[in-house]
């Protein structure tokens, strides 16, 4: 029994984020090494889930919607409302982009809450990869629509001439910091939540094996774990929503220039 406890026991709360390699292929012919890791596997699962959800909600092109279609339509409607309130009429062209981002981030947050699974969004390569790509795309879009007038974004209206050089520097830095902060927010939230759950469950496990009195007391931290799991589900939704909303507001800067 003691050996079982010692092997199951997880000492490091960051151990759950370790990337493991399942198999790889490569050699002199291919030149590079292609490997399937657990983050790759989970990203594939999330992609299949997104595609499967969309396929199920088509409901064989029937006019009467099924339950899947109603879920999909209400999600679609709320994202469309968000775009209308942040960007306006011009932003409706970006609805498929923002909708895909919302669904992908949401499902990769939620899949990590399945016990013994891996969270793809708890890696910086996920969040910062997304946000850097979004910032590059938004900048290209801004230059395409406004040409050199896009630099007007870095000078707030009504600035005295003496303050312009300082403000341009500050605004440029804050514009470029978006690439980091957007992804860092999502990733840090996911890491923080999962580490919190792991530390709490370690604490509870120590109380459970401690003795009969501690076993009774351990009901209290156990209730906390359940409450935190509920909070984590809420945070998964909130972070996906915030990620989409901030992407929409960056698009708004590029399309409408403040």
């Amino acid at each position: 029994m003691t050996t079982f406890i010692n092997t199951v026991f997880i000492n490091n709360p960051l151990e759950q984020f370790e990337i493991k390699e399942f198999f790889y292929m490569g050699g002199p012919l291919l030149g590079a090494k292609f490997s399937l890791t657990n983050i790759g596997l989970y990203l594939i699962i999330v992609t299949i889930l997104v595609l499967g959800m969309s396929y199920l909600s088509l409901n064989n092109n029937k006019v009467v919607p099924s339950r899947w279609s109603i879920v999909q339509e209400s999600l679609f409607g709320s994202i469309l409302n968000m775009i209308k309130s942040t960007i306006g009429g011009k932003g409706e062209a970006y609805l498929p982009f923002l909708y895909t981002i919302f669904l992908y981030v949401l499902l990769s947050n939620l899949i990590g809450l399945v016990p013994y699974s891996f969270t793809p969004s708890s890696h910086f390569v996920f969040g910062i990869g997304f946000s850097v790509a979004i910032l590059i795309g938004v900048t290209i879009l801004g230059f395409q629509t406004h040409a050199l007038k896009f630099f007007g974004l870095f000078v707030p209206a009504g600035t005295p001439l003496g303050l312009v050089p300082v403000l341009v520097m500050i605004e440029t830095i804050s514009y470029l910091a978006r690439a980091l902060s957007l992804g860092l927010r999502l990733t840090a939230n996911m890491i923080g939540g999962h580490v919190l759950l792991k530390i709490f469950s370690t604490f509870t496990w120590k109380a459970v094996i401690g003795g009969p009195i501690l076993l009774l007391i351990s009901i209290i931290p156990f209730a906390f774990i359940i409450a935190f799991t509920g909070l984590e589900i809420a945070i998964a939704f909130i972070q996906a929503y915030v990620f989409t909303m901030l992407t929409a507001s960056y698009l708004n800067d590029a399309i409408n220039l403040h």
């Binding site: 968000m82 902060s181 927010r185 840090a188 923080g192 909130i238 915030v242």
Partner: protein, 73 residues
Amino acid sequence: MLQSAKIIGAGLATIGLAGAGVGIGTVFAALVNSTARNPSIKAQLFSYTILGFALTEAIGLFALMMAFLLLYS
């Protein structure tokens, strides 16, 4: 010696959470205040509040990231 310095540094990094706590409190206090003044725009205010909450919480999580960097690097 280095190990204990790391642990002390990670503990000091959590002081930053005081600011995040004050910030989240301010965000929700503003929501309660403005809902009491004008209950008809509650839904619109709530979405702004969630955005403000997430932005404030992220600042607190930067302190967490610093603590991890100090502990595990």
